[in-house]
Amino acid sequence: MTLLEAAAALRAKRVSSSELVSASLARIAALDERLNSFITVTGDSARREAERADRELAGGIDRGPLHGIPIALKDVFCTKGVRTTCGSKIFADHVPARDAAVVEKLTAAGAVLIGKTNMHELAYGITSNNPHWGAVRNPWDLERIPGGSSGGSAAAVAAGMVFAAMGSDTGGSIRIPASYCGCVGLKPTFGRVSRFGVLPLDFTLDHMGPLARSVRDAAAVLNAIAGFDPRDESSSRAPVPDFMPPEPASIAGIRIGLPENHYFDAVDEAVGRAVRRAAELAETLGARAVPVRVPDIAAINTVGRIILLAEATAAMTPYLDDRAKFGPDVLALLDQGRFVTATDYVNAQRLRRLMRQEFDAIWEQADCLFTPTTPIAAPRIGETTVEIDGQTEDVRLASTRLVRALNVLGLPAISLPCGFDPRGLPLGLQIVGPAFQEARLLRIAAAIEDALGIRPCPPEEGLAQR
């Protein structure tokens, strides 16, 4: 069942919020010992919030599609009175005095917070193999990573524990786990969703967005969380439209840019095939595929790495003396950040502006881009390298090389399931659009999702038997 189907069932009185929350908590109790997707489960407060939602709905107060729906938050979102660890030992006992802006908005929309999800330590990595809170496991294959850093959010959504979950994305951290877990992950335009009250990894690259079971579910969450917030200096005053795609979602006349360079280089054959098939399907719906050449994405990724290394190390400076509190992979990145000079950092931010201007020229040729989200399906837990096209590549760099540039450019991007590899693992299609064009992006994604008919559910027997 999707979030919107649950919302319809609530209004038709076929189910209550209390029943949805009980089912969610029961599924967490049944599965999460194996998946490890939650750090904190807020069962008691969730039951109380659900009872209130039921009372409100019965009394004619309807806060919209999220009202009474159980959702989860990545454990970077500050929650008043509820521990917020950032997947770190440093913040193991951190209990915020107030909610993040996103949490305020979700609460106002009537969503029921079921818990805080596990993640890569400090949101600084893509495996979600957390040294302090344990490895999150992929619901499709428990020996594989869910991706990260929002790995717990993706696993919880894919396994049917919650209808949606919030994630954060600094270099792909929503889209990578969406791709590896077979769900939808949306990174909105930088500035669209407030960063206020989110423990920062990187001040100028962090984006907040939903993971969900369908494109329209993601749109419903974005409708609730988007908008200007004066407490976030990067927050945008751009008008906030209704993001919900119509049914049916027409894409007639849409120009789909298929990159001739970078995005289809060194990708697994099944991944490339699935993404091209999605573009062909779009053409049958009236869209037009156009070949485009994109600017030097590897250079943009390099700029992104310089910015990320410098800003993440700056954010963690107060804690760096206590090296034992960090896992080895995060510590290595924080150490690298100490070597980025101020000049290099400033120049990276200057290059970012130039690259953004250069990239914008693409939108004269295309309305969106179709690319793979990740070049591979989910790697195994503990794997540090993968082989793609006969070349050995670092798992982190492989997982981020098709997504990181969009954080540097601040552009909206969505990942949705587009097929399976020969082992039955889900594959992700990334659709990228111009700044603040999420509504168009979601419409295109919804049309593709509807046409593909893919709403992947991980094999239940695999989850239950291990």
């Binding site: 004066p230 200096e233 390099t302 700029v303 310089i306 690298q336 990276a348 931010q349 290059l351 970012r352």
Partner: protein, 60 residues
């Protein structure tokens, strides 16, 4: 390799030698990829920072 060790020593970074040995090749590669990009930035190009004087302080 030695360059990074000298920088670490001069900057008084408390990074164990084995860790330095591990990250040095990554830094070397990143520097080699980045520095040429920075050579041709027009002088008037502003960095993409965000700061607005008078906006009020962020609350935490």
């Amino acid at each position: 390799m030695d360059k990074w060790k000298l920088i670490a020593a001069a900057s008084r970074f408390d990074i164990p030698e084995e860790e330095l040995n591990r990250i040095a090749p990554v830094l070397e590669a990143l520097e080699a990829a980045f520095r040429p990009l920075a050579k041709n930035i027009p002088v008037e190009t502003e960095p993409a920072f965000i700061f607005h004087a008078g906006n009020g302080e962020r609350q935490s």
